[in-house]
Amino acid sequence: MLQINSSDSHTISLLVANKPGVLLRIALVFSRRGFNIESLVVSPTQDGRFSRMTISANGNPSALEQIVKQCSKLIDVVQALEHSDAEAVECELGLIKVNIEKERRQELLVILDHFKAETIDITQDSVIFRMTGTGLQFDTLMAMLSEFKVAEVVRTGKIVMARGRELT
């Protein structure tokens, strides 16, 4: 049974045959129904014949049910499912660059430590660090960073995995 969460924010996980044009076809399904894709992660699976796509998008739930079905219907899509927060774990990786003077660096490092973010580059007047976590954790961190000069943020987009022995 297709379970669609009732909010407007959705994450769909697709297992697709590793063939040319799959991404184009999936993108067309979303754009036709006016869904804005927030993030899209495409990556290899443990089986070279298939790829994993994780798509986060905004739109109303009834249209999403249709989108999931229309993705499933594509010949190269093996499985398309939406995962709710309760049954899946989510994670996202981001690189964040903050322009910062020496004097305030310590203050920043304390915050990063709290979020278990790792600094991976420090110069006289900048810091790059790596953050992993849920969307919510990212939002909280960004709120804390609002008093610093955030120069840029590059996020991978959300990936999810079904809990327990259930497959994604």
Binding site: V16, A17, P20, G21, L24, R25, L28, R32, R49, F50, S62, E65, Q66, K69, Q70, S72, K73, L74, I75, D76, V77, V78
Partner: protein, 573 residues
């Protein structure tokens, strides 16, 4: 023992032969020459059309009339883009079709090479599936998969883009028994007994059931089961315009087709039923209101469809099953009991008598008169194709069929230009049948270049042109909803269609007076040496009724020409 090596194009054609392809409808060009070359030594008959759009509609008509996959072959660039309308038409009506497009050589892809178009990209939203072949050894597998995909489940068009270097290169792959690699494609599982029991339980207590039969039931060849079901339940049957004939239209329980220009009594039954059971119809906007809550508000809704994406798309039914109509009905029927519908049948039959489809036989020549006479003379046996417009709706109203597969019309796409070439395809597929193409003066001119194709092959198609000297359907809307401010609908300057036919060596007949209708149609039907044109010059300003304004519900139906001005409709077209 070394076998002569073959190239990709020869492998392709051999594979098509193995699939039983009899005809390819096509038009050549540089990038497709290797494939045309391979056809020289093939038993497959190449039908050279006069435009690629015509080729697609011919393949479509062939497929609809025979149930086999229709095959199209064109060149790259403009040749391929000319097939877009035909691919869309086939996709909207779930018609199995294979479109082979030549393509520039693979090293030139993406470099704006001569006649390079991104055909894979352009057609992606319009096909069931598509391929861009980059290795000649993939050809046998791709053909195997394409036929399987095009013709199973919910059928549809499949496109194979074939770069010229690939069709020219040696193919060493085995041509038979190629293994398909389709991990993402499966047909629906059979429903469980429990699902069927639960579905059957919904019928209980219904006093006013209505069966709504769609094209899915035609594709599934479920005519016998539909009749059994209707007679068992004592339930009246209405069909979508595409499914005309799936249930005998002369049956007491038949209400003809429903929807925008459907019969008054079918639409009344939709308003009044307490249960509606769609078998392979997708609740399309020609038969349901824009505000879906207004559709049969108090009726239980049941839906079976082979395409899971159709379930809950337009409305959420009380019960649904995904699967093949025929297979499901076979298992559902034994679970059902006759319903107490006598009062309902009385009402429905009374409505049939009270609100019949009518037309005038005086005050000029009326299209309905011509079509109705043609119906009598062909007696439901001819294959009738139509174009799109008023004549299409009148043909749907005044032709009656007792068999499916007799009636070919562009439903979902509403493609003008479809009627005549689809008749050519149907006649190739069914050489012993009488084929009538009912076309408007507007739509016929979109694909009339195929007169050559029909003439060369001496196909005895009756091309019945309903000439009202207008883009009549649009004119009707402008008259009814836009204060008769006609804009872009006057077809002044139409050719003399009989003379046009003569230029191609085609026999012509002309009907101008009501008194001549029967006699001239008879003569045309007796003429079988080749195609003939029947030019019916009908009154210019006839309108199609009944009519449910676009977006409206069955209860908004206008049975006869209204005296008052009508509100602009809410739906799009």
């Amino acid at each position: 023992m070394s076998k002569k090596s073959i190239n990709g194009a020869e492998a392709l054609i051999k594979c098509l032969e193995n699939k039983g392809v009899e005809y390819i409808f096509g038009y050549p060009g540089g990038a497709a020459i290797p494939i045309f070359d391979a056809l020289v030594d093939s038993k497959i008959k190449l039908i050279l059309t006069r435009h690629e759009q015509g080729a697609t509609h011919m393949a479509d008509g062939y497929a609809r009339a025979t149930g086999k996959v229709g095959v199209v072959l064109v060149t790259s660039g403009p040749g391929a883009t000319n097939t877009v309308t035909g691919i869309f038409t086939a996709q909207m009506d779930s018609v199995p079709m294979l479109v082979l497009t030549g393509q520039t050589i693979t090293p030139a892809l993406g470099k704006d090479a001569f006649q390079e178009a991104d055909v894979f990209g352009i057609t992606a939203p319009l096909v069931k599936h598509s391929y861009l072949v980059k290795n000649p050894n993939d050809i046998p597998r791709v053909v195997e998969e394409s036929f399987y995909i095009a013709s199973t489940g919910r059928p549809g068009p499949v496109l194979i883009d074939l770069p010229k270097d690939i069709t020219s290169a040696v193919c060493t792959a085995a041509l038979t028994n190629s293994e398909m690699d389709l991990p993402g494609y499966s047909l629906p599982k059979d429903p469980t007994d429990a699902e069927l029991d639960a579905f059957a339980a919904v019928f209980k207590g219904s006093k006013k059931p209505l069966l709504l039969i769609g094209h899915g039931a035609v594709i599934s060849r479920a005519a016998k089961e539909v009749k059994q079901l209707a007679e068992l339940l004592c339930a009246p049957v209405t069909t979508t315009i595409l499914a005309k004939g799936i249930f005998p239209e002369d049956h007491e329980l038949s209400l003809g087709f429903l929807g925008m220009h459907g019969t008054a009594y079918a639409n009344m039954a939709v308003s009044e039923c307490d249960l509606i059971f769609s078998i392979g119809s997708r609740w399309d906007d020609r038969i349901t209101p824009a505000k879906i809550e207004r559709f049969c508000p108090t009726a239980k809704k049941l839906h079976i469809d082979i395409d899971p994406a159709e379930i809950n798309k337009i409305l959420v039914p009380d019960a649904s099953i995904v699967g093949d109509a025929k297979a499901i009905l076979k298992r559902l029927i034994p679970r059902l009991k006759p319903l107490k519908t006598q009062d309902w049948i009385d009402t429905v039959v009374r409505n049939k008598k009270r609100y019949p489809l009518k037309y005038k036989i005086h005050g000029g020549l009326h299209a309905q008169h011509v079509l109705s006479e043609m119906n009598e003379l062909t007696n439901g046996n001819a294959i009738v194709t139509t174009d799109v417009g008023q004549h299409q709706m009148w043909a749907a109203q005044f032709f009656n069929f007792n068999l499916p597969d007799r009636w070919l019309t562009s439903g979902g796409a509403g493609t003008m230009g479809f009627g005549f070439p689809s008749a050519i395809g149907a006649q190739f597929g069914c050489p012993n049948d009488v084929v009538v193409a009912v076309v408007g003066d507007g739509g016929f001119q979109m694909t009339e270049c195929e007169l050559s194709t029909a003439a060369i092959h001496k196909l005895p198609i009756k091309i019945l042109i309903i000439d009202n000297k207008y883009l009549g359907m649009v004119r009707q809307w402008q008259e009814l909803f836009y204060d008769d401010r006609l804009s872009g609908v006057d077809l002044v300057g139409n050719p003399d269609f009989v003379k046009l036919g003569e230029a191609y060596g085609i026999k012509g007949f002309r009907i101008k007076r009501p008194a001549d209708v029967k006699r001239i149609l008879k003569r045309a039907l007796d003429y079988n040496e080749g195609p003939c044109i029947i030019h019916a010059e009908v009154v210019k300003e006839g309108n199609v009724f009944p009519m449910i304004p676009a977006g409206g519900a069955a209860s908004d139906m206008v049975i006869e020409a209204p005296k008052r001005k009508m509100e602009k409709p809410q739906g799009s077209t």
